[in-house]
Symmetry: C2
Subunit: 164 residues, 2 copies
DNA sequence: ACGTCCCTTCAGGAAAATTTGAAAGAACTG
DNA sequence: CAGTTCTTTCAAATTTTCCTGAAGGGACGT
């Protein structure tokens, strides 16, 4: 799981901690975690905080106990959805904006150009359009996914081939 | 695009190089690329080699010219598919194996255990089963995606809730 | 066959990310 | 309210990753 998480852009330890909690029948303390995984308490604290931010781990407590206990969110599907929602979707949106901005820059290009330059600009415009169409299609697909709907990659392909 | 690529686990420069090639009306040389992006020729060479490995860029050449020219693969869908196929699928398969192995380890557990230990082991076994089911469902979904078929996340959810 | 041009590979060095240890900050108990 | 216990935060240090500059290797033209 550590490897998987790492691939997903999180710290490795986040995956390891989540897994230990997920496999544990009852909530665990930071001390137990740091002993199990051989980590300093600060590393555990940091990773736990981020896991909590992502809703992958919940803080609980026991009556009479002073320490904090943590337990894993057990619905992996929920977690995946949240990541897609918060991160992938944002990323795609930033990309969409960036493409739009780039197109604006192209439109600001001086009108006095050699034919060669003009062809180059026209080509870039076309390509940027395709990237825009693609990213918007991607946004729609991820949106559907997050909403629990099925998706079909043909939509992406279509966006790409749309205009030549 | 650099940001996007980085998020996908590639080097940032790979994204930048691909984009420059994608926007260029004609193939470019390594020199042109290193000038455009302010990179050393070795960095360009390295990133290009990896882009070629992933099929994101093709090497071409012009009659009479000694230098190598490069052009971008323009079908983003093809690229995405390849990444899912080569990397995500492999990753999931490794995870599946890891879970299977972990389950084997559990079965090797000594039979003399305190009731508490036994409960713990049983719980871990159950959870590992869920992870296995999930990862296999994921493998199937990505497989469908790569084959250009539609997918439905409900399959993932189902795999998770299957056996309590 | 040699010289030139270009691409690749390698080791050293810089930048970035991660980890740790210590100190500050909360929260509870007596 | 002071003392203790636990958590968090911060800067320093380590590790890792990445980039560069130079050396090595091919291919082409003369």
């Amino acid at each position: 799981m550590g490897r998987l998480m790492e691939f997903w852009g999180f710290r490795r330890h986040m995956g390891r901690i989540w897994t230990v909690l997920y496999l544990s029948p009852e909530p665990m303390t930071t001390l137990a975690l740091s002993e199990t995984l051989q980590l300093s308490s600060s590393a555990v604290s940091l990773s736990l905080a981020e896991l909590v931010r992502w809703g992958a781990v919940r803080k609980t407590w026991r009556p009479g106990e002073r320490k904090d206990f943590y337990e894993a969110e057990t619905s992996v599907w929920k977690l995946l959805r949240r990541v897609y929602e918060r991160r992938e979707l944002n990323l795609i949106r930033e990309a969409i904006e960036a493409f739009a901005e780039a197109r604006k820059h192209l439109d600001d290009a001086p009108s006095q150009l050699t034919p060669k330059e003009r062809r180059r600009i026209d080509h870039m415009r076309k390509r940027l359009c395709r990237l825009s169409a693609l990213s918007r299609a991607g946004e729609r697909l991820v949106g559907l996914l997050v909403a629990g709907r099925g998706i079909h990659p043909a939509d992406l392909r279509a966006a790409e081939e749309q205009e030549q």
